[in-house]
C-alpha cells in the first residue's frame, strides 16, 4: 500500500517584493522591484502511511503552513517530489480535493449568519455526495461530536468550541482520506481543547483517516498524534514517535506552587529550585531522575498548598534543545 503522503526534497522559495507604500510606491515597485528570496521550506522529506496521526510542530515562520499548503495543492513547490494519495497536488488539485479535507483554525468555512446545518448541505453539493449517504454520515458525525442542538443555530451565536466542532464535522462529511489541520485548537479553553483532541483521535481511528496537524500547542501533539515532525527554519529537525520525543527531548517539567508558608524546600535529587518569590516557589524537575508525582507528593506533605501547577517548558525551549542537541532529520526509530 503506497504511503498517503510522500515528500522528497521539498523546496519552496518565495520571491518577496519589498513592501511598497501606497499607489505611487506600488508603481515604482513595478518598474524597479526590490526582490529577495525567502526559503520557506528547504529540503524536507518524509512519508506518512495511511491512518497515521502526525503532528507538525515548530515556531512561527518555520515552514509548517507552507508545507501544508503544498500538500493540499494551494501552493506549487519550487522543487522536489510531492505525492498525496499518489496524486500530484499541484497538477491534479480537483481530483485530490475530493479525497482530502482541511481545517484552518483561524478561518472558517461555515457561513456565519446561517446555521451550520446549511453549510453542511452546501458541502454535500460541493463534494457531490449521494443524498442517503450524506444524511447517514452527517447523523453519525453530529451524534459523535454532540452538536445536534447547535447546528440549527446561526454560527455566529456559537461559542468557539462549538464552532470548532461544527468546523470539524464539516471537514469530515465527505469521508476524506487525509485531513489537514492548521492550528485547530487555537483560542479554545482547556476543556474545549481536550474535547477536540479526543474527538480527532477517535475519528482518526474509526475512519482510518490520516491526520496531519500543525500546532504551537504541544498538547495537541500529545493528545492526538503518535508521531511528530519538528520543523525549524524550513528544515526538518526531527521525525520521531511521540514517546521517544518526550523521553529524549522534554526531560524537564516546571512546577509552580503557591503556599501559605513563605518558602518551600524539596530536597529530592533531580529537583532544582528556580528563582522564586515569597509564597510562590518555582521548581524544575528532571524527569530522567525523578517522577513529577513524587515531587508533588513531597511538596503536599511538607506544606499547605494553595495552588499548584505543572507545566512543560515552552515549545521554543524544546525546539532550541532539539536544535542544539540533534542533527537534522533523525529519521524514524
Amino acid at each position: 500500500m503506497p504511503p498517503a503522503i510522500e515528500l522528497e526534497n521539498l523546496r519552496k522559495v518565495f520571491r518577496v517584493r519589498g513592501r511598497a507604500h501606497g499607489i505611487s510606491g506600488s508603481v515604482r515597485a513595478l518598474f524597479a522591484p526590490t526582490t529577495r528570496e525567502v526559503v520557506a521550506v528547504d529540503d524536507v522529506s518524509f512519508a506518512i502511511e495511511p491512518g497515521e496521526r502526525v503532528a507538525f510542530v515548530g515556531p512561527n515562520g518555520a515552514g509548517k503552513s507552507t508545507t501544508l499548503k503544498v500538500l493540499s495543492g494551494i501552493l506549487q513547490p519550487s522543487a522536489g517530489r510531492v505525492r498525496v494519495l499518489a496524486l500530484e497536488p499541484g497538477r491534479e488539485r480537483t481530483k485530490l480535493a475530493f479525497r482530502i479535507g482541511a481545517v484552518f483554525g483561524q478561518r472558517s468555512q461555515l457561513w456565519s449568519h446561517l446555521p451550520a446545518a446549511d453549510t453542511f448541505d452546501l458541502l454535500a453539493r460541493i463534494y457531490e455526495l449521494a443524498p442517503a449517504d450524506y444524511r447517514q454520515r452527517r447523523a453519525e458525525l453530529v451524534a459523535s461530536f454532540e452538536i445536534a442542538e447547535v447546528i440549527e443555530k446561526p454560527v455566529r451565536q456559537l461559542s468557539l468550541g462549538e464552532r470548532m466542532r461544527c468546523e470539524l464535522v464539516a471537514s469530515l462529511l465527505h469521508r476524506p482520506e487525509i485531513l489537514f489541520l492548521d492550528e485547530p485548537t487555537i483560542g479554545l479553553d482547556v476543556v474545549a481543547k481536550a474535547t477536540i483532541r479526543d474527538l480527532l483521535r477517535e475519528r482518526g481511528r474509526r475512519d482510518g483517516c490520516t491526520l496531519l496537524l500543525t500546532s504551537h500547542d504541544t498538547g495537541d501533539m500529545e493528545g492526538v498524534c503518535e508521531r511528530v515532525l519538528v520543523i525549524h527554519r524550513g528544515r526538518l529537525l526531527l521525525d520521531r514517535p511521540i514517546e521517544a520525543l518526550r523521553k529524549s527531548f522534554i526531560p524537564m517539567k516546571r512546577i509552580s506552587v503557591v503556599t501559605e508558608e513563605a518558602e518551600v524546600h524539596v530536597g529530592l535529587p533531580g529537583v532544582r529550585r528556580l528563582p522564586s518569590r515569597p509564597h510562590r516557589t518555582e521548581l524544575e524537575v528532571d524527569l530522567a531522575l525523578i517522577g513529577v508525582d513524587r515531587v508533588v507528593a513531597a511538596i503536599v506533605a511538607g506544606a499547605r498548598v494553595l495552588d499548584l501547577s505543572v507545566e512543560d517548558p515552552p515549545m521554543e525551549e524544546i525546539v532550541t534543545a532539539i536544535y542544539r542537541g540533534a542533527a537534522p532529520v533523525e529519521g524514524r526509530k
Binding site: R15, R19, G22, G73, I74, L75, G101, L122
Partner: protein, 262 residues
C-alpha cells in the same frame, strides 16, 4: 459531463444559501433593499427635474433615460445579488481566503464570487424592473430583447469587476482602488451615450466598460435589432472570457506564492 452537472447543482445550492442568508437578516434585509430603492429614485429624480425643464437632451428623452436606468439597475442588482463576492474579491485575495476554496473540488472563481450576496441588490433589481415596466420594456414583444440587455449589462459589469479586482494578485493594497473603479463603471453607465464623444467614449467601451454595461444594452431595448443583439452576446462572451483568463493567470501566480508574505 458529470462534472458540469455537479457544478450546476453546486451553483444552485450557492444561490439558495445566499437567499437564505439574505432572509436571515430579516428586518435589515428589507431596510437595505428599501433604501436602495429610495437611493435610486432620488438619483432619477434629478433627471426627472432636468427633463421637466428641457424636454430633450442630446436626442434623448426622459423615457430613454428611464430605459437606461432600468437596464443598468437590473443588471447591477442581479450582479450584486448573485455574484456579490466580486466587490470583495481583492480583499479575499489579499487575506488568503482563496486557500479554503483551493482545497475544495469546485472552480475557485465561481465559488468566490457566488459565495456572497448584497441584500441591497434586491432594491436595485426592484427599481430596475419597475422602471423597465413603466418604460414598456416588459411588454410581451419586448421581453426577449430586454432580458438579453439586462443579462449583458450584468455580465459585463461582473466580468469587468472580476478583472479589476484580480489585479490584487499582482498589486498590493488594491482593494480601495478596485472598489472605486467598480463604482465609477456604474456611475458612467448611468449617463446617456450622447453626452460622451471622442476619446472618452472609447475609454468607456474599454477601460471602464460603461459602453457595454449601459449604452449598448439600453440601445438594444430602445431600438432592438439582430446585429445589436449579436454585439451584446459577443460583448458578454468576450468580457467573460477575459475575466476567466485574468483570474486564472492570477491564481497561478497565487499558487506560486510570489506575493507579499502575510
Amino acid at each position: 459531463m458529470a462534472r458540469i452537472v455537479g457544478t450546476l447543482r453546486f451553483l444552485r445550492a450557492l444561490v439558495a444559501m445566499n437567499l437564505r442568508a439574505s432572509l436571515a437578516l430579516r428586518g435589515a434585509f428589507w431596510l437595505q433593499a428599501a433604501f436602495m430603492v429610495l437611493n435610486n429614485l432620488v438619483f432619477f429624480a434629478t433627471w426627472w427635474l432636468l427633463f421637466a425643464r428641457y424636454p430633450e437632451i442630446g436626442g434623448w428623452r426622459l423615457h430613454d433615460v428611464l430605459t437606461l436606468f432600468g437596464v443598468v439597475a437590473s443588471g447591477f442588482g442581479a450582479s450584486v445579488v448573485f455574484a456579490g463576492g466580486v466587490r470583495d474579491l481583492a480583499r479575499s485575495i489579499g487575506e488568503g481566503e482563496l486557500d479554503s476554496l483551493l482545497v475544495q473540488p469546485k472552480p475557485v472563481l465561481l465559488h468566490a464570487v457566488a459565495s456572497r450576496t448584497l441584500a441591497s441588490g434586491w432594491g436595485d433589481l426592484a427599481t430596475g424592473v419597475g422602471m423597465l415596466w413603466i418604460a414598456g420594456a416588459l411588454a410581451p414583444g419586448m421581453l426577449g430583447w430586454t432580458a438579453l440587455a439586462v443579462a449583458t449589462s450584468g455580465t459585463v459589469f461582473t466580468a469587468s469587476g472580476v478583472i479589476v479586482q484580480s489585479l490584487a494578485f499582482w498589486i498590493d493594497g488594491m482593494e480601495t482602488l478596485a472598489r472605486q473603479i467598480w463604482e465609477f463603471t456604474l456611475t458612467f453607465s448611468l449617463y446617456p451615450r450622447p453626452l460622451f464623444t471622442g476619446e472618452i467614449a472609447f475609454l468607456l467601451y474599454t477601460l471602464l466598460p460603461a459602453g457595454f454595461v449601459g449604452f449598448l444594452p439600453a440601445e438594444l431595448v430602445r431600438a432592438p435589432s439582430v446585429p445589436l443583439a449579436l454585439a451584446a452576446l459577443a460583448a458578454s462572451l468576450g468580457w467573460t472570457l477575459l475575466a476567466l483568463f485574468v483570474f486564472g493567470r492570477g491564481l497561478r501566480r497565487y499558487a506560486s506564492g510570489n506575493r507579499i508574505l502575510p
